[in-house]
Amino acid sequence: MKFTFLIVVINLMFLGNVTSMDILSEEEDIENTSEDLKVFDFEELQTYLSHKDNNKTYVVNFWATWCAPCVKELPYFEQLNANYISKDVEVILVSLDFPKQIDTKLKPFLKKKTLKSEVIVLDDVDSNTWIPKVDENWTGAIPATIIYNKNKKEFYERSFNYQELETELKRFIN
């Protein structure tokens, strides 16, 4: 208890100066690792869910390393990204891995898989608020995917194979 109090006090002392010295709590630990991996709350993520001002089509997939069907379909999203990058399509992979497992699980996974699509970690516990903002029909199960451009948006609470994914994408770019 005293120890917790001490950590809180020390953190308060360093609040606003979170660059180098904050190795004391989990939160700042995430800050430090974010150099090569973006860890966002929903407000920060939201800009990635509503680019309305350009001609790109975005494919945003919600996944996690612990979600087997998500991991299974990741190669299809990678393939889609590679095949359609020249056609103004961008794939964004939003990881819902637990913050505690970013270093132990997510980063080793990303290193091993060498994913080319952009990976963002969403760390926001208030899911009851943000899930309906992603899509009103999302019950919260993953995998889940949205495809959108400035004209329209579709939400999918399901798994994909490559053909299915490409078929959906073509409804946006043709």
């Binding site: 637990f98 009851n128 019950t139 993953i142």
Partner: protein, 204 residues
């Protein structure tokens, strides 16, 4: 002829309505619906139904499993709910909805081992044949349904998450299930009747 037209019209109404009420991937219960009873095998080999609980005022039905990290994160809180509310008339009944061929870590032996290791005091049932979770409309683990016994049957009063912080039980600010059960015990309306949370899709 008249009868056929009536049937057609009824079908049309159903199809039209269901296209508006489709909630995500599944259909299933909405708040206010009457949940049908089930008879599922418990980890102790007995069959468990809601009708076995003679003194229950309702139930906290938890679709959960061993293998989903979100479900695991909530195990202790599910146990705490049973400890707090079983004696007050709202016992927890946990149901494991996954296909165990896809997730062997959720098979009966694994369920028994997990329940023993964690000291579960509530029934932990196998949704054999995966027939019950689609009726409820559960899409993920954990997924909670609070039911209240009424003259019509077990009425759905709350659907959603246990609380608003999967990461840290001590940082919870909204205890959705507790608030729902407390309201029912006090004869009040459930303050927040549906919530959403991330979970693992039910494996089919």
């Amino acid at each position: 002829m008249k009868h056929t037209l009536k049937t057609l019209f009824a079908l049309l109404v159903i199809v039209t309505l269901s296209s508006f009420t489709n909630f995500g991937a599944g259909h299933g219960y909405h708040v206010g619906d009457i949940a049908t009873d089930f008879e599922l095998e418990n980890i102790d080999g007995t069959k468990v139904s809601m009708k076995n609980f003679k003194d229950a005022k309702g139930f906290i039905i938890v679709f959960t499993c061993n293998t989903c990290p979100y479900a695991v994160a909530y195990e202790d809180r599910v146990e705490a709910l049973n400890k707090k509310y079983a004696d007050k008339g709202y016992p927890v009944i946990a149901i494991m909805p996954n296909n165990t061929d896809v997730k062997p870590g959720d098979n009966m032996a694994a369920m028994q081992a997990r329940a023993k290791a964690k000291g579960f005091t509530f029934p932990y049932l196998m949704d054999e044949g995966q027939k019950i979770y689609p009726q409820y409309g559960a899409t993920k683990t954990p997924h909670i349904y609070v039911l209240q016994n009424t003259k019509k049957g077990a009425q759905v009063k709350y659907i959603g998450a246990i609380d608003d912080n999967y990461k840290d039980a001590s940082a919870v600010t909204k205890t959705y299930v507790e608030d729902a059960v407390n309201a029912l015990l006090d004869g009040k309306e459930v303050p927040v009747a549906t919530t959403r949370a991330i979970g693992c899709s039910i494996k089919v």
